[in-house]
Subunit: 269 residues, 2 copies
């Protein structure tokens, strides 16, 4: 691995751009390469076998482009396919589960709630990680699948009446329990922070994509892989690759990252 290589980030769609935005701010000199599988998004209701197959294809694409580290910005993929990805990757792989769990265990004194897609919740990846990292800490853990949150966010109804109705229904069991931390186990969910915050007052919301970005920045500092832009002439580049170029992709890439349209490329994998 050499410093000059880009950091690779992949996701099932465009939700991972929230994590890329955090990375871009934390590491202003690094080249970033994003891959979103917009032709096959969403992964959240697919079978584990299919998710693993797609994850291997996305990983291979980034490895061919010689990234120095891979950030798996998708909770569904991080829950199901980390072992498969690590098996084929010679460079470090950072998922969203571990960093979110580490922060949740630090912050919580009563109980941790987890929300995500059906695949993420059914995998029990967050619960398993908490069990491995809790170090004897006796704390309540509860999870709830919220399959309608992604379509609501993609419809732009972040604070629509329907978002409150749906969120109240999904969060009802978590609200009755005594949790003080809620892990947003899907990169789309930070956009629902206003609604979630109003329904769960006093509960700390943890953005799994932001935690993964923070850990990535730390890791490449520890490994002395941080690039100082002064070493080179060209300005830092951010390139986005998607498997289906839709108007929504372009709009979101521009809104999140201020990327020009010619930084977004359609590819086949």
């Amino acid at each position: 691995m050499i410093k000059k290589q880009p950091i690779g980030v992949f996701d099932s769609g465009v939700g991972g751009l929230t994590a890329l935005t955090h990375l871009a701010a934390l590491l202003p000199d690094e080249d970033l390469l994003y891959l979103g599988d917009t032709a096959r998004v969403p992964y959240g209701n697919r079978s584990p076998e299919t998710i693993k197959l797609y994850a291997r294809q996305l990983t291979e694409f980034l490895l061919e482009r010689s990234v120095k580290v891979i950030v798996v910005a998708c909770n569904t993929i991080s829950s199901i396919a980390m072992v498969e990805i690590e098996k084929i990757s010679p460079v470090p792989v950072i998922g969203v589960i571990k960093p979110a769990v580490a922060t949740a265990l630090q912050v919580s004194s009563q109980g941790i709630g987890i929300i995500g897609t059906r695949a993420t919740i059914q995998s029990r990846a967050y619960e398993n990680e908490i069990d491995q990292m809790r170090d004897g800490k006796n704390i309540l853990v509860m999870s709830e699948a919220c399959p309608l949150f992604v379509p609501l966010v993609e419809e732009g109804w972040h604070d629509h009446l329907a978002a409150y109705t749906v969120a109240r229904e999904y969060l009802s069991p978590l609200k009755s329990a005594n949790i003080d931390v809620l892990i947003l186990g899907c990169t789309h969910y930070p956009l629902l922070k206003k609604v979630l915050g109003e329904i769960m007052p006093g509960v700390k919301l943890i953005d799994s994509g932001e935690e993964a970005a923070t850990l990535t920045a730390k890791l490449i500092q520890i490994d002395q892989l941080v690039l100082r832009r002064t070493e080179l002439l060209a300005p830092r580049s951010i390139e986005c690759y998607v498997t289906d170029m839709t108007p929504t992709v372009l709009r979101i890439a521009q809104q999140f990252l201020g990327l020009p349209a010619d930084s977004v490329h359609e590819i086949t994998i």
Copy 2:
């Protein structure tokens, strides 16, 4: 084409099973072959180029299995890719747009509303078909994209409070207009009939999948392709192929069609 060949039906996912159910009832002696692209569903927000590519792949799969007619049970594909499918198919192809429009024009005396996915509505396929078939009939036509209806149905929230909140918002412009017919331009929407009927009282709801099944039955009678089961020994078979086998697929195949699990097969295309 010979009578003994099966009728092929394809869809982006499992929604087309509503049309298959109607076909199975109308044509009790025919062999039926269903293909649902559950690994890449939903198509509704994808680009036209990607939808056309996927449609060609699905068509080729059915043609390799020597179907005598192809029913495109998906509104998104029928709206975007009929020309591409007809170009490569030596057997008749029936989409959902034309049959629904024909019935709507017969029934309506005031105005026709159309609801569907974003891709279906943006394609203006229903409006274009109405313009070609209206034969001078002066009638109001309005359409509205309802991207949250499919996830609501897939969540099983057909008559949940959230379904009413979402439907009221989407249908509000149609409700203010003077329509007397509403085309359900997506195979999932018939499952929302209760909600839609309560919000739009007195408006006739047209199920595009049911209309396509009715037309298919008529067509194979006219072409003298109807199979009489007495000609053969084996009982009629219904086979389902999907590109991703999820618990939802099995549950829906059993619920809709009472199919045994061994009639549902996973394939790669």
